[in-house]
Amino acid sequence: MNYIDDLVTLLPELILAALVLVIIATDLFLSRPNKWILTPLTVGGLILAGAACVVVWDINETVYSGFYIVDDLSVFLKAATIVIGILSALFAPGYLAVRRIPLGEFNMILVTALIGMCVLASSSDLITLFLGLELMTMPSYLLTGLHKTDRYSNEGGLKYFLLGSFASAILLFGIAWVYGLTGTTNVAEIAAALTGQMSPALLVAIGFLTVGATFKIAAVPFHYWTPDAYQGAPTPITGFLSVGPKLGAFALLIRVFAEAFEPLRADWLAIFVVLTVLTMTLGNVVAMTQLNVKRMLAYSSIAHTGYIMVGIAAFANTSDPEVAAQGIESVLFYVLGYAVMNIAAFAVVGMLQRDTTRFGGLNSFAGLASRAPMRAAAMAILMLSLTGIPPTVGFFAKLYVLLAAVEAGLAWLAVIVVLNAALAAFYYLRVIVYMYMRDPEPDPAPLESSGFGSLALGLSVAGVLALGIFPGAILTLVEVSAASLF
């Protein structure tokens, strides 16, 4: 037991923590025209943290008296977290500058949230898990309300904060029940203590945990905070919120349900399947009626939550470890692919909001193809990817989930997924209709373009296509990562 040596396993988190301090310090000494330096600084720090993930890959050990686990699963999630961080840090400056939102604060809060996500991914104890969750969600509330002079941003932040606090409390209550029933908060020990028997008290615990966790991933019926929080938040931050905390929450789901409650998976499966179907269907149906692209993407993110949950359901519905692993793999792949395409999609919406009175309505996309062909083409590819059309990462992600579901004997669920995907095609393709098949409005929304934003958009689209055509490399990583659960 050597606490100092174990610090090496925390390298990514430590670098991120140092980055927060560096950002605060640098921000103090930069004059207003030089604030842009913060972006390359943050991105550089994040790349360094990403490199640290390579160092801790393949370590697979539990450290700090069983509170913290550095397995490949957690490292994969940390790497995905850092990808999300880099894209968010690159997309945000242009949008924030127009609205005079301080860049330093944004970067600092963003990186703090990333630390929370990393801790969450690595927690092997419910206490660490809760700590990581709060470290992730507190900055998320702040980010939502970051545009202090905007009413919608304030409203969204407050709603998110109030409902989120309730959900955290409920989750904590669930954790307390689990502790009462098993006498431990350690994930592995809980799993050992729960072999087979089901009791009403345990059902209560599962109920509380499910409510808390599904709130965080924004699954129906606990999704009500999502549209308002997403619409109110500054657009690039919405992009982050739609994937960052979601990735964290899925890490939580995996740790709690796929690990601690693994012996009882037959019991929680039913709840999950029902929630899955409700989540994707409601998300898609409501998204179809939205004329505001930002709000449409918010509802569609609920639908995508549903698709990802199919992977968890596939995990729970089979006794074959290989098939179960495929369920988890599909979750990991989907979360990463979804992160890249959705952050970029929100960023394009943000680029059309240079005029601060624009709210990202479909009209502002009218005729975009003739005004900004490159960005329209990028948005079109992103929309096709979100729909799930090959050769994009969105297609492969959906395929992975379907494969897991069919293999786990949930073919009917796969059919519901594809019918939902067809529904989703309607509203995603509508954006393409506006961009390519309509003439621009008489006073088209001015476009914001920052070098960082264009770079990130190019990277995201390249990633969406590359991972769609040659997903092989990531597939191997995903397989190794999921294997650390079994």
Binding site: A411, A414, A422, M437
Partner: protein, 506 residues
């Protein structure tokens, strides 16, 4: 595989052309058109190598096989048999025709237009040469989006409605097919075999009745929507009416064939038991489609819509021939696909010529064009007769074989389809008469001085179709010879098949 990867060259030369177009300045329409045409011609040139297909040799020739996504056993496997070789040739030819025809009519967003057409070529050609079910699915979906854009951007007034309807219809079917493909692959792997999407492996596995039935229904929906089969055809008239002429040529000429090809290549050989058991229902639907398409075509006021409904009828022949499971029927089905691609492509092209000049396609607005545009009238007449099925032209061979096959299956079915051959003469000839022989309408008289006959570009676009429609009608032997082996394999696959729950039905 030795020497050049000829199929890869056929499929991806258009893609290279599309990428090259990105470097060409968009305002230089001339350069854009030449680059696009060069890419399409390259693809056509490479596809001529498929004429070297040896009917006596191995089933799939020009094979290429590379690992792609090894975790799931997905491979980049290409190969053609006689059926796909003919369809590849049809696709490259019609694509070149469509591009050549678009030379003058397309004046807005020219660069985007040609990029889209080239990507459409990639998707269509890929479907015909894929021997990996997953690869096939990827190409199948890739072919969808460019057509969506072609109709939606360069189409008529109600283009957005038409294109969204087209894409949603097709997506529902194809996504269900994706589940079926996964189910089939997983069932095969479940028996202890290595996980693969290889068509040649998967078709040899005996699937359980449940997978046969549900899988076939999913495949059926995907392909029947594409064909399109009554009652899933309603997207087709809308799509055709709104599509630009080149879009219509490719839609009718090739995209509908993707559905027919899907049945012959994938649905029937993979799941023969279900195919045999569901055949009576499908034959029933096909007969309805043949009758319905012909009757609805008779009352269409719009020339393009008339040709679109005649497609429903002709593709009904394809489905009928495919599901009577005898040599004449299946060969007739495949031959009708090719012949229909040529004649309907040409008819849409001809309708496009008059539409470019008058911006109208109402039959009631035409009349007397024979006197003003003799060449146009002659060509329209030729393809009208080919569409009706006049002996000596290509339409006759396919329809005759299908009816022959239908007789072997059931006399009443054959009798019903025979009647429709008369009906098709009615709607086509009646249209021809109203457009070319009656007194010109007052509306048409205002255009009279400005009308021009077929111009040079249009002649170049039409000429290969003219040659083929006659050549295939007079001497269909070589094509039928290419189709013989694939057809025999299908018959072999369905021989003695049937779902146990349905019992033997014949």
């Amino acid at each position: 595989m030795d020497g050049l990867p000829i199929l890869t060259l056929i499929v991806f030369s258009p893609l290279i052309g599309a990428l090259a177009l990105l470097l060409v300045p968009g305002h230089n329409h001339r350069a854009v058109r030449w680059v696009a045409l060069a890419a399409a011609l390259a693809s056509l040139g490479f596809s001529l190598a498929l004429l070297g297909y040896d009917p006596a040799g191995a089933e799939f020739q020009f094979r290429e096989d590379l690992p792609w996504i090894e975790a799931f056993g997905m491979r980049y496997t290409l190969g053609v048999d006689g059926l796909s070789a003919v369809l590849v040739l049809l696709t490259t030819l019609l694509s070149v025709v469509a591009m050549f025809y678009s030379w003058d009519p397309i004046k807005t967003r020219v660069k985007e237009y040609y990029v889209t057409l080239l990507l459409l070529m990639v998707g269509m050609l890929g479907v015909f040469v894929s021997l990996d079910l997953f690869l096939f699915y990827v190409f199948w979906e890739i072919s969808l989006i460019p057509m969506y854009l072609v109709i939606g951007i360069w189409g008529g007034p109600r283009r957005v409605y038409a294109t969204v309807k087209f894409v949603i219809y097709t997506l529902v079917g194809s996504l269900l097919m994706l589940v079926a493909i996964l189910a089939v692959a997983i069932a095969q792997a479940g028996a202890g075999n290595p996980f693969t999407f290889s068509y040649e492996v998967l078709r040899q596995f005996a699937y359980t009745d449940a997978i046969q039935a549900f899988g076939f229904i999913a495949f059926f929906l995907a392909f029947a929507i594409k064909v399109p089969m009554w009652p899933l055809h309603t997207w087709l008239p809308d799509a055709h009416v709104e599509a630009p002429t080149a879009g219509s040529i490719l839609l009718a000429g090739v995209l509908l064939k993707l559905g027919g090809y899907g049945f012959l290549r994938f649905a029937i050989p993979l799941l023969p038991d279900a195919a045999v058991s569901f055949a009576p229902i499908i034959i029933g639907l096909a007969v309805i489609a043949i009758l319905y398409g012909a009757l609805v075509a008779m009352v269409q006021p719009d020339m393009k819509k008339l040709v679109a409904y005649s497609s429903v009828s002709h593709m009904g022949f394809v489905m009928l021939g495919a599901f009577v499971f005898n040599q004449q029927g299946l060969q007739g089905a495949a031959f009708t696909m090719i012949s229909h691609g040529i004649t309907t492509g040409a008819l849409f092209l001809l309708v496009g010529i008059i539409y470019e000049q008058t911006h109208d396609r109402q039959i009631a607005h035409m009349g007397g064009l024979n006197a003003r545009l003799p060449h146009f009238a002659a060509m329209f007449g030729l393809f009208t007769f080919a569409s009706i099925g006049l002996p000596g032209l290509s339409g006759f061979v396919g329809e005759f074989l299908v009816i022959l096959g239908a007789f072997a299956y059931n006399g009443y079915v054959a009798a019903a389809t025979m009647l429709v051959v008369i009906a098709s003469a009615v709607y086509m000839l009646w249209m021809f008469q109203r457009v070319f022989f009656t007194v010109p309408s007052d509306w048409m008289r205002q255009w009279w001085p400005a009308l021009r006959d077929i111009n040079r570009n249009e002649w170049i676009a039409l000429s290969p179709l003219i040659v083929l429609v006659v050549a295939l009608g007079v001497y269909p032997g070589p094509v039928l010879e290419l189709l013989a082996a694939p057809v025999d394999r299908i018959i072999e696959a369905v021989n003695g098949a049937g779902l146990t729950a349905f019992g033997p039905w014949r």
